[in-house]
Point group: C2
Chain length 357, copies 2
């Protein structure tokens, strides 16, 4: 089997509503320099570049195609293609479209399907994990990367590893739903459990074959949307009617869980999905446990994340808070309740305050 | 002795730096509608109006003369005079200037000397206390109003009452410095102790006589500053050189403590000096212990003071915080550390960020 390079397919459809008001509908978290000077999609594209890889393909909504193209241009990064979803249909249709596109642009290529909005502190280690996953993917496995847990997190699904099938790659014994804290701790104590990061390596044929087995209607509608897409200036607009008719499903539920061919490659890569201000704070905190950006005067303040895009922010006596000022909106949240920031976004939607979303 | 009405002399020299960024140098707390729809100086002037009183005299710094005049005009309140201090010299020189001015405008009047930035929920009760204090003031006493404590506050000086000298008026047994909590609790348990609110009733002669006895140099310099003041359009600008040469001293230290003629009239008037956001919160809190003003979305938030003059403020999971947004500056402070807001103001001064002060 003659295998070409890997085509990175970067899924950039998220809204990042738990990072409001930093993350906005027009400029969601993957398009922002949340952790470093680079935006997250820039970090992701750079992480998936080098000898192993073709130029990245992006799957995003219409509003984000131009900023992605601009951000790639700013870092002199070639763009494989930009595929525009008329609406969100979760990751399984994405994977089908990615497979169809890859088959057409390099029939020998594997696909590395990855979200645009994850931070990885060890990109070299990540590329080594990808390289380690190639043999299994070549054998027709759908490979997922398992993140070594650094605590009993209840916010992620877990993957239990099975028998070794290649150096560094294992069968998947079981996928586990987000556990409660006790169960998560048991996974940690037992060992052999990994966080499911939603990053996959597979061949187009393997993916399409398994999708056809379990969800032929997704393959049918997504294929139709891709085959009747509108092409203009390197942008592929999926057909709206067909894609709207496509069931919305995650790749995990659609194929990874039912397939016999799942494999896991454990990856110790400094992974963080920046799922909330709590994760952002964890990544960025420095002196006194604070992470501060912009015009800030903090007095007797610790373990806090304070960011402002202009207005002076002053704090007195804070511990464990997020204070985020962006585009004339202000959020003050307890860091350990930062998941609930999405409640604010829901309220803004209910009040039809679209200028604030 | 033929006694005329009372001349209210409202001292409006404070900076309110513990209420930054609501209170600013150009528009300090007494000029703001902090508690009600009226500004605090408006509330104070209204409280000191009616049959007992002449129009109010204001002592303030140059920048605040125009806003005070405007605020009085807005409520159709006549202005007795506006006396401008070239610099702050604390309250004893104020009292001397007030006495000289009163002697000249109504030789029979008593003076009610009061800060501009206190809130009183029972103004009728306050006026009854003032009326009760008149006989003692007529007899030459320097009368201070003692606020009945509602807790072991450590932020105020205390007045211990002595023998009755008139209905509702007592000798002052002792002035007590700000106590520690244990001592404050002992005062409460023992009874007969009152908070020193810095509100006084006296005749000009009595004040000048006692000031002359203990601090003749204050009388000399303050008199000089008043007698060589510049008069223009109803505004009295005290002479800068003389006032600069006047010792800075509080009326408490200068005469109330050393004099034999101090008296106290206990006053149960719903007094609050709005000394910090904690006091403001205590006055305004409603549902869930929150006090909210402006464009605010509060989720799972309690016991907090949240005010914004424009930008949307959203909160998640807060308890016991102040979030204040004013003129492009933001403060987030733990309410029980709100005294330390002055540290922010000190930092802004040290950094010469005068636009923020």
């Amino acid at each position: 089997m003659n295998v070409g390079k890997i085509i990175p397919v970067i899924m950039s459809g998220g809204a990042g509503s738990r990072l409001w008001p930093a993350s906005r509908q027009a400029m969601p978290k993957q398009l922002l320099p949340l952790v470093t000077e680079q935006t997250m999609v820039q970090e992701t594209a750079e992480r998936l570049s080098g000898d192993l890889f073709h130029p990245s393909v992006f799957i995003c909504n219409a509003a984000h195609a131009a900023p992605i193209r601009e951000q790639m241009k700013d870092m002199d990064m070639p763009v494989g293609a930009i595929i525009v979803e008329p609406m969100g249909r979760n990751t399984a249709p994405c994977a089908v479209v990615a497979a169809l596109h890859a088959k057409q642009s390099d029939p020998d290529a594997l696909i590395l399907l990855a979200p645009a909005d994850h931070h990885v502190t060890k990109p070299e280690a990540f590329r080594r994990s990808v390289a380690a996953a190639i043999p299994a993917a070549q054998k027709g496995c759908l490979v997922t990367f398992g993140i070594e847990p650094n605590g009993p997190e209840t916010g992620y699904g877990y993957i239990q590893q099975g028998e070794a099938i290649a150096p560094g790659a294992f069968e998947v014994e079981a996928f586990k739903e987000k556990p409660d804290r006790e169960t998560a701790q048991a996974y940690l104590d037992e060992g052999g459990y990994f966080w499911n990061a939603g990053i996959f390596l597979f061949s187009p044929e393997a993916l399409l074959s398994e999708m056809n087995k379990f969800h032929p209607e997704i393959v049918e509608k997504a294929s139709q949307a891709y085959k009747t897409a509108t092409l203009k200036s390197g942008q592929i607009d999926l057909d709206e009617a067909s894609f709207a008719a496509c069931p919305s499903e995650s790749i995990d539920y659609a194929v990874m869980e039912p397939t016999e061919n799942a494999a896991v490659v454990p990856a110790n890569i400094g992974w963080n999905d920046i799922g909330s201000f709590t994760s952002l704070h964890g990544l960025k905190k420095g002196d006194a446990g604070n992470a501060v950006k912009g015009d800030v005067i903090a007095y007797n303040t610790q373990n806090s994340l304070i960011e402002t895009d202009g207005p002076l922010v002053t704090t007195v006596g804070l511990d464990g808070l997020a204070v985020i000022v962006k585009d004339g909106s202000i959020l003050v949240a307890k860091l350990d309740a930062a998941q609930d920031v999405k409640k604010i976004v829901e309220t803004l939607k209910a009040k039809e305050r679209f200028d604030k979303l």
